[in-house]
Every structure is written in structure tokens, then in C-alpha cells.
Subunit: 610 residues, 2 copies
Amino acid sequence: MYRTHTCGELRLADKGAKTTLAGWVQTVRKFGAITFVDLRDRYGITQLLFGEELNKQLEENPPGREFVLQAAGTVNERSNKNPNIPTGDIEILVSSFTILSKSSVPPFTIQDDTDGGDDLRMKYRYLDLRRNEVKKNLELRYAVNRAARSYLHGQNFIEVETPYLIKSTPEGARDFVVPSRMNPGQFYALPQSPQTFKQLLMISGYDRYYQIVKCFRDEDLRADRQPEFTQIDCEMAFVEQEDVLNMFEGMVKHIFKEVKGIEYNEAVPRMTWEDAMWNYGNDKPDIRFDMKVTNLVFSKQMFPNKSTVLPEEMFAIPPWGGGGAEAVLAIAVPGCADYTRKQTDELTEWVKRPQIGMKGLVFIKCNTGGSYKSSVDKFYSEDKLKTIAEAAGTKAGDLVLILAGPEERTRKAISELRLEMAERLDLRKKDEFKPVWVLDFPLFEYDEEGNRWVARHHPFTAPKPSQIETMISNNPAIENTAEYVKHPYANIKANAYDMVLNGNEIGGGSIRIYQRELQEKMFAALGMDKEEQQHKFGFLLGAFEYGAPPHGGIAFGFDRLCAILGGSESIRDFIAFPKNNAVRDMMLDAPSTIDEKQLEELQIKLDLRG
Amino acid sequence: MYRTHTCGELRLADKGAKTTLAGWVQTVRKFGAITFVDLRDRYGITQLLFGEELNKQLEENPPGREFVLQAAGTVNERSNKNPNIPTGDIEILVSSFTILSKSSVPPFTIQDDTDGGDDLRMKYRYLDLRRNEVKKNLELRYAVNRAARSYLHGQNFIEVETPYLIKSTPEGARDFVVPSRMNPGQFYALPQSPQTFKQLLMISGYDRYYQIVKCFRDEDLRADRQPEFTQIDCEMAFVEQEDVLNMFEGMVKHIFKEVKGIEYNEAVPRMTWEDAMWNYGNDKPDIRFDMKVTNLVFSKQMFPNKSTVLPEEMFAIPPWGGGGAEAVLAIAVPGCADYTRKQTDELTEWVKRPQIGMKGLVFIKCNTGGSYKSSVDKFYSEDKLKTIAEAAGTKAGDLVLILAGPEERTRKAISELRLEMAERLDLRKKDEFKPVWVLDFPLFEYDEEGNRWVARHHPFTAPKPSQIETMISNNPAIENTAEYVKHPYANIKANAYDMVLNGNEIGGGSIRIYQRELQEKMFAALGMDKEEQQHKFGFLLGAFEYGAPPHGGIAFGFDRLCAILGGSESIRDFIAFPKNNAVRDMMLDAPSTIDEKQLEELQIKLDLRG
């Protein structure tokens, strides 16, 4: 061993002890005849003191930033203590040292606030990983991994490894495929998830399965997605939705406790998908703050059971498009009535950006004095403004922001605006964790292009037990495309659930279909004929013939969960060797061309289009 | 939840309790008006008793083998107890039941001794996994996983996930490659191991890394190999060989204790590669039994420092090819002097099989009476036979078996024969675990075809510290191919180590090169020019420029380790969803053809050779 102690270990109690340390040179400071070196390793920083007698040797072999140094000496009390680090009371009086390895000047500083840009840090990821910020993230990731394992093990789950070279059955996202040399013309696929395997394990009787496992999706460029990502993948047999929810909110609470020291003992709130869309404009509501959406006008098709708070005619005037917009949605932003013209103009520009896509923004200031001021003063009396503002649940001092337009776009926009305003008001606290279950999703979405149903979650999700009959006894074909919402399938709710944390979906799952007839009906609804069903999922349909237990499960996005627990929105910071947005590993320079010989052996050829 | 208890849980103490169980029907036995059903789940088997009053319902819905049944009732003391199972004192007096799922007749019996052949069991792997034998293997695998993790965590190792989509840099085995849709014409490779990543993590300062991780090798057909396999992959910084050996024999002992309840407290024995070849004929000796090889004649080139026990002229006679064989190697098999002619003939046929490839077998029987009888009586007097037998370390009653031929083949053959005889004598006990470190491997092997050196372990393994200078100061080019053994590189020993358990290599590793100059020399010795070095490993050479610490590590073959601990020679039994010898998943029917559209998107074409 090149060391007797780590650089984070020695204290005043060790005074006088002989020690040998090894690590990286963080800084070198010369004061006349003596030299101080801060030596860094995974565990901390210890100050080395080189006395006059080592001067000659230091001059011959001057250690520089990021050199790897081995130093032997005695633990000494520091005259000038540093209370900011645990080793700050001591220093090592060096008696001898060896430079184990030299370093060129790093392309960026190895410090918490680095001067390195993203590309540089990705290329020299091995240096970026030395920074304390990044190290903390990977340590947190490991802690979450351990906490999840210890909880699941305690609950009698068993980890079973499922294969990586499987069969290509693309549904939704594209598969990465792997040409087989031994079976020319055939390909394996990398798993998008171990979904069918974990279901087979339930059929095999393993009853509580988990795996922390890499999954792969060949998707187009999307910010903060990675082609390979990690899931905490779980499945249980002989359970209903309630059992799965209880089990896995237990896991999340355990992780909160173990990793963040947070005691979260109450039940995780639950919300239907419809209520999430109604109150927050999306299905992954950030409930760290309130600021719920007020539905002034909305699509009756989407919310047949909801009613308006104000007469709809109030909004059939020019600001809302004259004849009335499909949706008019408001939020009341607390304490912002004093926004200046410049600020409201800026917000207007913000909602008009292509990513948001609104035509404009209407506001009502609920002044603390009790008066109302609005961008649509000329269409509404102050009384009417007050009526609208009160409908939006304002208090004096609030700023009501109102968007109008087509239902889907407007709802998405008000949701974005809500998050943006919360961000500006610092209501999205990084150290506050508010999970919520979102339930009762629609089982199907309608795909206009293909005039067919697509599975909102995936084709293995069961409908609510009460709706199985509806699903089996109706023909999935949509005859009148304009009125697809009237098809009985449009109203089938899934036995599915998402766990949302601070506005991010961190986990999703469902109770699964375990009856062959129902699974075949599902595949048929998705436009798969018998032959395709057999080719892609014959093994699963076959397995249902031999005693399949009722089962369900969930998968957590491990990278995302770690990022949120680490107070970051970017998963890339929590992955040791991530790929960039062009799906490249900048450090390896991968993907890359391969040898002609490799292609020949695989019996494939490039077929490049221009 | 469909159950209140599992099928392995209830005891006599629960007598009178209400319970609901769910599981699979193992057997149905009717006795007049009552019916017994053995219900099975992951935890055990519980007997259900259906009384007369349920007869009608049973007749309407008769449960069959492997049906999934839910049964509610009361815990009852059995009149006819079964001491062989933990639940054998009780039965459930069923009050109501539901068939959750029916089953067709399984294609083979779900029992410890199944009637299913390999192919059938692979195709219906989800049924095979129900068998107790297979379940036990997966449970053991999980236990080994947990024991390894707990040990490594306790030693301050951190798990870091490394990427699966990396760069193709084939060395030795072939890479599986993955075409990149986003970067047409370019490919990722699946990792053969995370070798370079774990070295980068050391350079990043993570200092103790582990990962239980899938690796991939596109190899030709070999028995009991899988294209994807699992490693316990580890690396440490600031260590020398001794540190790594101590750390990881600690891990193996911990696994022995946790998984098998075995207290193995002594030091794991160590053996040089040369001694392993000398005494056992191969570099993964099974030391559960002795029966060492006696080197009567051997290649001086391979063992320049060893001397014969008998004058070599004794073997320059017809039985050894007249002029003398390159190697004459013997083992003394205890207690087999009374082998019949039929038995020695059969052994002779055994060594003549193509897999062994010997021309014949010579034996000497050391009869208990003190006489000697041999297949080469006419060439040797009884005195000489005695001399040879004594040289082979025999006791009265032993059978000396002698093979002669070319060094490499004969050594391999005597090693195989040694294992075979041990097998016949039941000396390879499945419940005895004898690890041994094999050390001091040659760094290079000579590749005749390419007239170049190949790395015996891998190109990142360091030579012994004392031989670094030899390596750097000599030109690797081999001028006189016939005398390659005289090249200084032929004598360089690697700073590498294998852990061998019961005749199987379960782990291997090395101290790594961490100096750019030495690494470049190594790449050059393997025939890689500067450009290729830069293209394939530029990132690693670059990383060595920024302060690389001395480091080393090891990787354990997780599948193999589990198999041996489970008393099996086949890793396939310890993998949930293995592939067959044609690298196919029989259950999924993968690999398979993919859609033309997928090929188009990837911009590749098939290029099948007839």
C-alpha cells in the first residue's frame, strides 16, 4: 500500500504519529524557505509542510497541480488552523516524498466552480470526475442504490438478472439492435426495459423481483435524455394496485430517510390523472407550491364531468379570440400585483416563445388597496375583473395570469407558466421533496395518423377490473374517426400509476394483464394481427397458458431520482460517463467506424444515404 | 393482496387462524369425498383440505396441475403429519376458493427430477424456473451478489456504473457492435469488460471501485460459455499486488461464510504459474486432492530451472517413442493397483480420444504385496519399475499412469487424466472449497501466425516492477522467430494473479500500467502503431498525462463463482434466461430478423454470403 492514511482521516488526536499519504496536489504555496502543499484524495484534503531541508529536492522535482504525490512524515498541530475542513487542525511535517506521477496543466480547474465548458468537461470527463461537485453526485447515486436495495431486500424481493441480448419488438421507441455473427441476417435488440422478463418471473413464481438495470432507447435528440439509462425495476405477484402503491411509497420514504435524513411519515398524496390535468395542467404536478389552475373555459370533451365557475359568455369577447377560445386558464401568482409594465411585457414575450406558443398573455393586478388593473381594462369593468380574479382564488397583492387558446396547447402553457412563476418566486425549493401518486390514467390514446389506439403506458397494462368486460366485448376498430372519443375504449381507465416528485415523473407502473384473451385483445387494439402477436410476443402469450398469477409492478427512473435528490434538473451530472445530446461519448469518441473485417464477419454493409 | 400468508409460513402455532393462500397446484389427491391439494409458492408447499361441502364446486371447476388457486380457510392440525416439510404439521381446511388462472398440461414435470430435455426446458424456461432446483440456484446467486456487495461496501468501495454503449477496440475476443442511427456508418460496441473505465475512475481519484456488471463477448461456440456474462469488477488505487490479494481473498472468505456457512480463516495458498504447470499440468489446479504430476521428462525450454528425478536415458526406449519423447509425465492414482485389464484398457481408450489426443497410456501397478506389474514389463525390470514408481511418489496399492508426447499436449493430457481419475475416485467433493492464487504469469505469449507478442492477460497489465526497465529498453520486434524464447520479452513476468477455485479460474486481475511511455511500449509490442493507439486508446493515454496513480484490480466471473458454490460445473443453470450453445434464446426465439424499416433507419444492409 502506498499510504497508511487517507487525506481525510488525520486529526489533532493523531499528533506525533508517523504517516504516509498519497494523493493529488491541489495547491502549492511557497513561503520563503518552506512550502505548503494541499494534498487531495477521495476522502479529503490534508496540508503538507515541506521544510527547508527538502528545498533542494523540491527544486529538482517541483510538484505541480494534479501531480500524484506520496509523502511520509509526522502529524503536526497547525499554527494557522482551518476550521472549514475536518483535517484543518493538523498538517504533515514531510520527511520524504516521491512524485508517483506528473501532470500536464489540466484544461480546466479542478474546483467546485470550474472554468471548463460542457464540451471540455465531457472530453476530459476523468478530470471532471475529480471535482467535488461531481464526486458528491456519484456518492449520492451509490447511496440511493444501496437504500433501494436494502429496502427491497427487507421486503423479500430477490434480484434476478435479465438478459441484455433479446428480441427486437419495438413499440413506441426504437430499439438499439445488435447484429448476430453466429446467426447472419439476424439481430438481437438491447432491452428498452425488462418488462416481459419480469412478468415471466412472476409466472415462474418468484413473486417479488427487483433489478437495478440498464435500459436502452434509440430516441431522437431530446434534452436531458440518455440512450442508456438505469431503472429500479420491480414486480410483485398476487397484488392489487393498493399493494404496489404502499410498497413503493415505502421505498421512496426509506430512500428519503437513508440518503437525505428526511423523515417523511405521512401517506403520499394521491391524485387522479384528470385532477392533475385540471388543477395543474399536466400529469406530473409539482405540488411543492399551490398556485392551482383556474379553469375559466375548457374542453368539455376532455372534462365532461367538470363545470365552469363563471358563465362562459364572459369570455366570448375579443381578448379570447372573439368567438371564444377552447380553453381560458388562469393562475394567481402571489404577491406580484406590483409587477411593472416591463415585467408584464417580458412575461408576455415569454409565453409567445415557440416553446410555449401562446398568442398573448392577459393579466389582472389585484392591488393591495382593493383596486384591479388589467391588460384588458377596456373589455371588462373593474367589477368583472374582480369577479374573475376572485374566481381564480386571489388574495390582495396577487397577479392573475390568463392564457387562452386551443385546449391542449393552452393547458401545457399554463402549466409551464406556473412552473416559471414558481421558479421566479423561489417556490421550487431544492431541499423540499413532495411526492404524489397520479392514478387512473386513460388506458389508450388515439393515434390520428394511424387511426388506431396506442397504449398510453405499454401494451401489458391492465384496464381497471370493472372495465375488462368493456374491453373484451367491444371491437377496437374506430369507424368514425372524428368521434373517436365516443368509442367505449376512449373511456377505459388503466390500472396504472405514476409517482411524481417535485414535478418530475420518477416512477411508473401498472397492474398487468395476465389473461391471454385480454392480452390478445390489447394487441389487436394496437393494430397487431395474430401473426405479429405470435412472432413478437408468442412466448408471453404461451406463458399465460400455464398458470399466470395476477401481478403488477413499477419501474423508477434511477438517474432522474438521483438528480432530483441531488437538487439538480440534469441527469447527466449524476452519470459517471454520460453521452452528449448527439448521443456521442466525447471522451471515447464513440460511436466510431469499425473495421471492414468486422462488417464482413457480421455479413452487413453500410448503406449510407448521401 | 390476494393472500394473507405464503405457502411456507404457517405452523402448528397458527392452528385455528383464518388464512388466505395463493399459489400453484402441485398435486391433487382425491380420497372419496375429500380432496387434498398441495399448493406451492416461492416459500414452500401447504396442504389444502377440501371437504365434502366443496365437492360440487370442485367438480364444476376442477383445479389441475399448475393452476393458480386462491384458497381461504382455517389452519388445521394434520392427522398424518409430513416431517419433511416445514409446514408438514398443518393443513388448511378450505372454506372457499377461486381459480385465478388455469394451466394447460406442462410440457415437462415441475419437479426436482424433471423429465424435460434441455431444449424443452430452455424453450419453456418460465416453467423450468418453477423447479426447486433452479430456484435454489437463483437464490444462491442473489446471496453471492449480496455478500460481495456487503464486503466491498464495508471496505469503502463505491459502485459506479460504467457505460454499455462504448467504442469498439477489439483485442482478442470480438466485440458485439451496435449501429448508431444518429451517427450513420458508425457503431458502438458492447463492453467486453469495463477495464478502461475503471482505470479512468482510479485516475479520477475514486480509489476503490466495484460494479456487478454484464459484459459481452462475441466468441465462437464453446461449451458452457455465454455471450453475455456477469462480472464482479473491482479496482483499487495506491496498491501493490499484495494489497489486492489480501483484499479479495477476504471477499471470497466473506462469501464462503455468508453463503455457505464455511469458516475459511487460513491464508489462501499461493502458487507460481510455473509451479502450477509443473505440478498440475495447468494453470488452474484443483487442489482439493493431491495426485501431483511427476515430471520424468520435460521441455527444458519451458522449465529451464527444473531438473529431472531420474536419468533421462531411462526413457529413451520404445514405449516413449524410442528416441525419447519431449515430455513423459506421470501421476500416482491411490488405491487403484487392482484395476483389471478391462479398466486399464478403458483408460487407454480414454486418453486416445481426440479431445485428449495421446497415442497410448503406460501404467505400473504397485501391488500391495510389493510386486510391480506394468504394461511395459518387457522394457523394464521390476527394479526399474519400482524406481519409476517411487519417483512418482507411490504407496503400495497405487496405480501409476504415464503419458508421453509433445510437451504442451502431454501436459494438458496428464492434467485432464488427473481430474478424470479424481472424479472416478470421488475426490472432487462438491461441498469442499479450495481456493488458490496463481501468480507470476508470463506477460506475453508468442503468436506464431502474426510473429508478434500477444498480451497473456490484457494490454493494461504491468510487468513486474523489476522488469519495467527490460521492457522499455528493448525493441519488441522478434528477428529470429525460431528463437523467440530468447527474446528478453519472453521472460518478462506479469504483475498478474488468478484466483482458482476447485480447478476453475474464478477471478483474474493485475497491477496496471499507469505510465504513458510503458503503455505505448506495450501497445507497440502488440503490433499497434501510434495512429491505431491514438484511435483506440487515445483517451487512456491522454488520461495518463494528468496524474495517474498506481492502481490494480481484479474481476471475478460471477456466473462461474455461483455455479461452483452451487456444486455445478454449468453456469447455465445459474442464469435466469441463458442462451444455448448456438447463442440463441430458445424462449424468445432471438436473435431474429428485423424490419426493413429498421435497417433503413440504421443505414445498413444485409450482405449474406450464400
